[in-house]
């Protein structure tokens, strides 16, 4: 369960170029919910996603499974990012010089998983996403759709409760985008909370609930 109360994100606070990206947002997201966040560019939807992902500081109160996120130490936040949250970004955020296997291993390595568990879980997620044949390939040799599948594999390899996807289909053709959304919908059906930031109405239509944001506020 995610609960936000009066959450704000202000860039360059107190300076002339101050920007209020997220403005007093109150939000509750149930476990296993598939939530879409829509809105024009610069409305604060990505900033809200980064707050949910414990990637940035904020004002207000954020409870993640009854854990207060505000003022947690760096180690606790890192552990939450590692074990509870999986990130999927528009431009994949993969390391091109590494192989598919090495990219997927990273969260498990930071989580201190033993070597046999790392190999087992990597193979399991690759099979789940039907990309086991890419195991040893370098990321730079993959197509956009394959890269996004690898990014999803990396996001779910640690079996997190929450998947955060920031424009996951933004760089893909419509057929591949459809496949990627199918995967995310499928993940939410397995009990994971999936939150998708998107501009695409067809993606939003697949979500259980859609929030619209303008000027840092949720309007419905």
């Amino acid at each position: 369960m995610i609960r936000l109360k009066n959450v704000s994100k202000i860039y360059n606070k107190g300076k002339a170029n101050q920007v209020v990206a997220v403005n007093n947002v109150n939000l509750t997201i149930a476990d296993g919910e598939l939530l879409g966040i829509m809105g024009p560019s610069g409305c604060g939807k990505s900033s809200l996603l980064h707050i949910l992902g414990c990637m940035t500081d904020f004002d207000g109160s954020y409870m993640l499974d009854e854990i207060p996120i505000k003022n947690q130490c760096q180690n606790t936040l890192a552990e939450i990012r590692n074990r509870k949250i999986g990130y999927v970004l528009q431009e994949y955020a993969l390391l091109p010089q590494l192989s598919v296997k090495e990219n997927i291993e990273i969260p498990l390595l930071f989580g201190g998983a033993p070597r046999d568990k790392i190999t087992f879980q990597c193979l399991e997620v690759l099979r789940y996403l039907h990309i086991e044949h890419l195991y040893r390939k370098k990321v730079c040799e993959l197509s956009g759709g394959q890269k996004q599948r690898v990014a999803i594999a990396r996001a779910i390899v640690n079996q997190p409760d929450i998947i955060l996807a920031d424009e996951p289909t933004g760089a893909l053709d419509s057929k591949t985008a459809h496949e990627i959304i199918d995967i995310l919908v499928d993940l939410s059906r397995t009990g994971r909370t999936v939150i998708i930031v998107t501009h695409d109405i067809t993606v939003a239509n697949r979500c259980d609930r859609v929030l619209h944001m303008i000027d840092g506020r949720i309007i419905d």
Partner: protein, 197 residues
């Protein structure tokens, strides 16, 4: 005593160190052949030099030698010290620049690590390991190069030289990379990834 004992040669002056010859603060001059070290009496040393090299001359203490040559010594040392400082600064600036560039190029990688559950401290450890690897490889190459050069030229690099060089390298690399990672702490990791993508 062998010719390999020679470690420095400048104009018509040869300075020799050897643990098997020499006496405390004893120098021998023939033309200008200076010997330093411990263990052997000056007369014995003179005999060895006469026998081995047909040398002849007189003995001076360091103080006498210094007094005889200080007028030439000071400008020479000043110039050499100045050149050393300039070269050292150039090397340090280059090292700091390459280390900074390397950390900047790895910003995206480190931001991804942060997103996937690393703390900035663990990222510092990753960078330290990487720096250690660079320093070890450069030391190995330098060691091999010095070994090759010393087979045909008289060069002496002591352990003190190696250790001071290693400490200097490590300090510059660590300081620069730690400072740049520290700066990353105040940026949002996602913004760093976006900037690079």
């Amino acid at each position: 005593m062998k010719l390999q004992d020679l470690f420095c040669q400048a104009s018509n002056t040869i300075i020799i160190t050897s643990e098997t010859i020499s006496n405390e603060d004893v120098l021998f001059e023939r033309g200008k052949l200076f010997l330093t070290g411990t263990n052997i009496h000056s007369d014995e040393l003179a005999n060895i030099l006469n026998k081995e090299y047909g040398a002849f001359g007189s003995f001076f203490s360091y103080t006498q030698l210094y007094n005889n040559n200080k007028n030439q010594l000071y400008p020479m040392l000043t110039l050499q010290t100045f050149i050393f400082i300039i070269l050292l600064l150039m090397v340090l600036i280059n090292m700091a620049g390459s280390s900074l560039m390397d950390t900047l190029l790895r910003q995206r990688e480190y931001a991804i690590y942060y997103m996937l559950g690393a703390t900035w401290n663990s990222i510092k450890h990753v960078q330290s390991l990487y720096n250690m690897l660079i320093i070890s490889i450069s030391f190995l190459l330098a060691f091999l190069l010095i070994a090759k050069i010393s087979s045909f030229a008289d060069i002496l690099v002591t352990w003190v030289n190696w250790i001071s060089c290693a400490i200097l390298l490590a300090l510059v690399y660590l300081a620069v990379s730690f400072l740049s990672i520290r700066k990353m702490r105040y940026m949002d990791a996602i913004d760093i990834i976006r900037k690079w993508d």
